[in-house]
Symmetry: C2
């Protein structure tokens, strides 16, 4: 790092991801991160007080990248059912891309998410919150009829978990998966309709 560059939390997290990719989650240390940044490890600890906090933050950043893309779909002024279908398809696409384009980094984050329950819990809450908003606008428009949009959002999220939960990642490249995704989405969307 050029000595004139300001050491931001974001810059540390960027480099942490690179270090994790290179060394793997078992071996990567804060000293490795500091070395890659050309700073002392004390400088890293000023932003992240422990190694665990740094790992949690980099995991959260990785998970947030997906929620940010989906948030745009929630905010659109369009038919709720179309938004719901697009949202589910975008989630599936984002997860597949993460798993398929960079399998080593994906495997690394599988280790990190397993150890950082809080980041995953917040991620799922953010995603089901987005779904609740879409379902709620469908209830308002009369397209959907559900007793409690938050309960239906969680059910919908869980009913489609084959297409976003990493424990199913190996199934995402199997032939026929697109058709299976469509059939599940059709079934659950029908279950919401008025």
């Amino acid at each position: 790092m050029a000595t004139t560059e300001i050491l931001t939390a974001e810059r540390i997290l960027e480099v942490t991801e690179e270090v994790l990719r290179r060394h793997g989650p078992a071996k990567a240390t804060v000293v490795d991160v500091a070395r890659a940044l050309g700073v002392s490890h004390g400088s890293v600890y000023r932003h992240f007080r422990t190694k665990a906090a740094l790992r949690e933050a980099v995991t959260k950043r990785w998970l947030d990248r997906t929620s940010a893309v989906l948030e745009d779909i929630v905010a659109q002024d369009r038919d709720p059912e179309a938004r719901l279908r697009d949202w589910l398809a975008a989630l599936f696409t984002a997860k597949r891309r993460k798993a398929g384009d960079d399998p080593e980094l994906f495997a690394t984050y599988m280790v990190l998410t397993a150890e950082s329950g809080e980041a995953v819990g917040e991620h799922i809450a953010a995603l089901t919150g987005q779904l609740t908003a879409i379902i709620g606008s469908g209830v308002d428009s009369g397209a959907f009829a559900v007793a409690d949009p938050a309960v239906s959002a969680l059910a919908l999220f869980q009913a489609t978990d084959r297409f976003h939960d990493p424990c199913h990642a190996r199934e995402w490249e199997q032939p026929g998966i697109e058709g299976e995704f469509e059939a599940v989405v059709d079934l659950v969307v029908r279950g919401l309709r008025a």
Copy 2:
């Protein structure tokens, strides 16, 4: 084994399961099985030509135990929606019991199912076949409206996989899982209704 007892395939599989439980899937051998039965390994090979065939057969037997219980529900002369709900609940109960009551044996079978793709494929085909029969009778009675019961059966099976796929086993004892199961079942059953 008493020398007068006939060495049946079923008896070999029973003992194989015990040997797998005791030695673990990595170490269990055909010689261990033969020794536990008090016979030569040639006697075992007369029933199962290879170690792989023996492992496949014991896996199939374990999976078939679940399908056999569910078959009774399919055959009942009752309201299709009630049978469908009972079938899904019975599958969840059976899988939870397998995972919770004997975690070591469950872990053993997770290794075996991962190596024996055919037995798992046949198991899933048997289960979705049962679902297809229930959905088909719901279409006949006018309770359900679906274009193709087999497609809906697979979608329903996949939409509920959180409650039967072993990759979710750790979630089965979490608080709130019962309510989540009910919410997903309500959603998908609504998706089938006429």
